[in-house]
């Protein structure tokens, strides 16, 4: 790799050729502010706050658009730079409403953070500020199905415009008018309609673009837990962070507060889609299963399901499964969602092989759904068709998955057998959201009519299928367990337990282990890592060989994420290790004055 060496603030820095001065400074931990620069989109050079002094260059230069050259000498803290930069901040704040107390970005806002550090203490502006549609909440206008736009707060960095043009591929946002009249707008005020629109909130460095899902829901300092995990709503497996709300008075409400993307150059870059970002409420919704349920009578539709204790359900389940399989063990069949983690599939595989011998996997039908996602042709973030995270995991474990991620699962064999009355019991494993195992109305009908004598559903939601079941076992959603999933590139990725399963719900691998044990099989697993260890040993030389070394994270403490601040700035922590945003209260204008002993030790999150 070709490198160049330059000096920034007296420190010699060697960076790969082609880096800009701003990137070099960030990598070296020298704090230089920026707004229009974002590593995932093109360079614009419009906000001017990243100005630095470069020796032998006449004027101050924007560091985001100046490429490093050998021997360059850069100053970011000299008096003229400090003054000019403060001037730029003064201009940026001319029309900014400074309504931080009611702004959802407040507390994790680069405009706040950088202004505190680099801006002037006061504004000299004594003309009225420009306001659109009024002050405060009235300034919030509808910006499409997922977003709100507050034009008063916008600093016209054009990150959103470039995101739509370059990443989404459909430039729906433009700047209308010019100069002091400029505003961010869509044609005919249609708003932004895109499958990846939620990223605009992360991209926007101020509180101008907010998601309807997140705004007014919490304040950043009230959700101090962040868990690095992955999204499991399609086969892409975006790396994400789950944010948790942690106020005592809300302890009984939902805890998940938002999902944000986490940088991974190989999978999702800095982005995630709206499906993954906004579809998390189901895990803590009203239809969530919290207790095992049992239908007292064996004839279908007779008695309603009743909550029961695990210790009562387990023997019943064992008896009825044994009963169903007494004539032909192969008449007990499994319908498994590709939302199941690899641990669960691994335990299931041992279970069926224990019951049915080596071709036990034939008793298992893996299911998922596909949907058409409308996206512009030129999009750089393609959301795949398959709506399940682990089709490849099932395939790698030797389950029949037909065309895999490229097509639909084939349920005809199971369906014909069920409808012909050849199946005595169906055990469903469905840890995904409602509808993620596809259309199973035929299974409901078969149970209702009695063609199918036993239906067991292990899942997380009271779906139509669960309502028709004889035994319902509450499992766990992806945010409630450590699990591994293999995405469509074949990458083995980890999703971490962020919240505790509600009520008496148990982790799905545990349920399967206890079912297997009750049926007389040996299952030497006490933790999910035991399962991963066994999986790793059974698959040397594959992506699973390291499965027991995957990193599962737990909520990071508030202190660390405060430094990580704005989710759109998380990439710095994940790969650049810069101490940005600056520790509040420290001002460059006061450099030379000894810093107080209030600084927080800086280290990357995770």
């Amino acid at each position: 790799m070709e490198t160049v060496t330059l000096t920034i603030d007296g420190t010699q820095i060697t960076v790969p050729k082609g880096r800009t001065v701003l990137q070099a400074a960030i990598e070296a931990g020298i704090s230089v502010p920026y707004y229009c620069y974002h590593p995932g989109i093109s360079i614009d050079g419009s906000c001017r706050v990243c100005i630095v002094k470069i020796e032998k260059m006449g004027k101050l230069q924007t560091s985001c658009s100046t490429v490093c050259t050998d021997g360059m000498v850069v100053h970011t803290r000299e008096a003229d730079v400090v003054e000019a930069r403060a001037g730029v901040f003064e201009f940026l704040l001319l029309n900014h409403p400074l309504d931080c107390p009611v702004c959802d970005k407040g507390g994790e806002c680069p405009l706040q953070d950088f202004s505190y550090t680099f801006g002037p203490a006061e504004s000299r502006m004594d003309f009225p500020r420009r306001v659109f549609d009024g002050e405060g909440v009235k300034a919030d206008v509808d910006f499409g199905p997922t977003l709100m736009l507050n034009r008063n707060r916008c600093i016209l960095c054009t990150r959103c415009v470039r995101f739509m043009k370059e990443v989404d591929g459909d430039a729906q946002i433009g700047i209308v008018d010019r100069g002091a009249g400029s505003e961010i707008a869509t044609f005919e005020e249609r708003g932004v309609h895109s499958l990846i629109s939620g990223n605009l909130m992360d991209v926007c460095p101020v509180g101008a673009i907010l998601t309807k899902d997140y705004r007014f829901k919490t304040r950043p300092w009230d959700n101090p837990g962040v868990v690095d995990t992955i999204c499991t709503l399609c086969s892409k497996g975006c790396n994400t962070s789950a944010w948790l709300k942690a106020k005592p008075e809300w302890a009984r409400g939902s805890q998940l507060i938002r999902m944000t993307p986490r940088f991974n150059a190989d999978v999702n870059n800095y982005w995630m889609c709206d499906i993954g970002r906004f579809t998390y409420h189901w895990a803590e919704g009203d239809t969530r299963l919290r207790k095992p349920m049992l239908r007292p009578s064996t004839s279908p539709g007779q008695a309603p399901l009743e909550p029961a204790a695990w210790r009562d359900v387990e023997p019943k389940l064992r008896d009825r499964i044994q009963d169903a399989g007494s004539q032909d063990p192969a008449s007990v069949r499994f319908l498994v969602s590709a939302h199941a983690s690899t641990e669960e599939l691994y335990v299931l595989k041992q279970l069926v092989e224990g019951l049915l011998g080596n071709d036990g996997a034939r008793a298992v039908t893996v299911t998922w759904t596909r949907s058409d996602k409308r996206q512009p042709e030129g999009t750089k973030f393609k959301v795949p068709g398959t709506d399940a995270p682990n089709v490849n995991g099932a395939k790698d474990l030797g389950f029949e998955v037909g065309p895999g991620n490229e097509g639909m699962p084939d349920l005809t064999r199971l369906r014909t057998d069920v409808e012909a009355g050849r199946v005595k019991a169906v055990y469903v494993l469905d840890p995904g959201p409602d509808g993620s195992i596809g259309d199973v109305s035929w299974l409901v009908a078969a149970r209702r009519s009695g063609t199918l004598p036993l239906l067991v559903v292990q899942g997380v939601l009271m779906t139509e299928l669960a309502a028709a079941a004889d035994i319902v076992l509450p499992g766990t959603a992806w945010v409630e367990k450590d699990g591994i999933f293999t995405n469509d590139q074949g990458r083995v990725q980890a999703s971490s337990r962020a919240i505790a399963p509600p009520g008496e719900a148990r982790e799905d691998w545990q349920i399967l282990v206890s079912v297997a044990r009750s049926l007389g099989l040996t299952m030497p697993y006490e933790t999910s890592n035991d399962v991963r260890r066994a999986l790793a040993t059974s698959k040397p030389g594959t992506g699973y060989a390291e499965a027991d070394h995957l990193l599962f994270t737990r909520p990071v403490p508030a202190r660390n994420w405060l430094q990580a601040s704005n989710p759109s700035e998380r990439w710095k922590w994940d790969f650049l290790f810069q101490d940005l945003p600056p520790v509040k209260g420290h001002s460059v204008q006061m450099e030379g004055v000894p810093a107080q002993e209030t600084s927080i030790p800086l280290k990357p999150v995770g």
């Binding site: 206008v141 199905p145 997922t146 700047i175 008018d177 010019r178 044609f187 499906i275 409308r374 709506d387």
Partner: protein, 200 residues
Amino acid sequence: MSFHPKMEYAPARFHKSARTLPDPGGDFTYTAENQAKFDANVQRYPPDQRKSAILYALYLAQRQQGFLTRAAMAHVAGQIRCTTADVEDVVSYYTMFYTKPVGTYVLNVCRTLSCALLGAERVTEAISEKLGIKVGETDASGMFTLIEVECLGACDRAPVVMVNDDWEERLAPEQVGEFIDHVRAKGRAAFTGCHLHKEK
């Protein structure tokens, strides 16, 4: 417009922007002649730089119907193969594109530094007084529209007013009334811009 396979959108119960939108306008397509002109012009640019033809495309549309409606912008977007937002971006940026009907003569008064120092503000006032209109309006006869623009690149001859595509230089506030009367009487022949002398 819903394209999320399963997700329910936030219901539309939010404050809508009060921005003044350009006129929607009726159906718009280029005349055959203009279409031919556009097709010829767009050839000048490499296929991946098609957007470079946008100003020309907009001028064609504006000449065809006098001003630009949303329908015209949508038509241009189709021709250029960019989005309507891109087109509105350009239209709203340049002062020479009109989103309302304008008079025969559009008086663009420069209000940037040199002209401002030499009384551009009073030029604007004089015009408004003479025609009884405010900035952005068209007079009753439909002949004149008054707008303010930024530097016209003729600072050495300030204060400058650009009438349609021609400079009218050193137009002191006191001369405005007379100039307007001349234009009314003689049309373009009343213009005195120095570039016209060169043309001759």
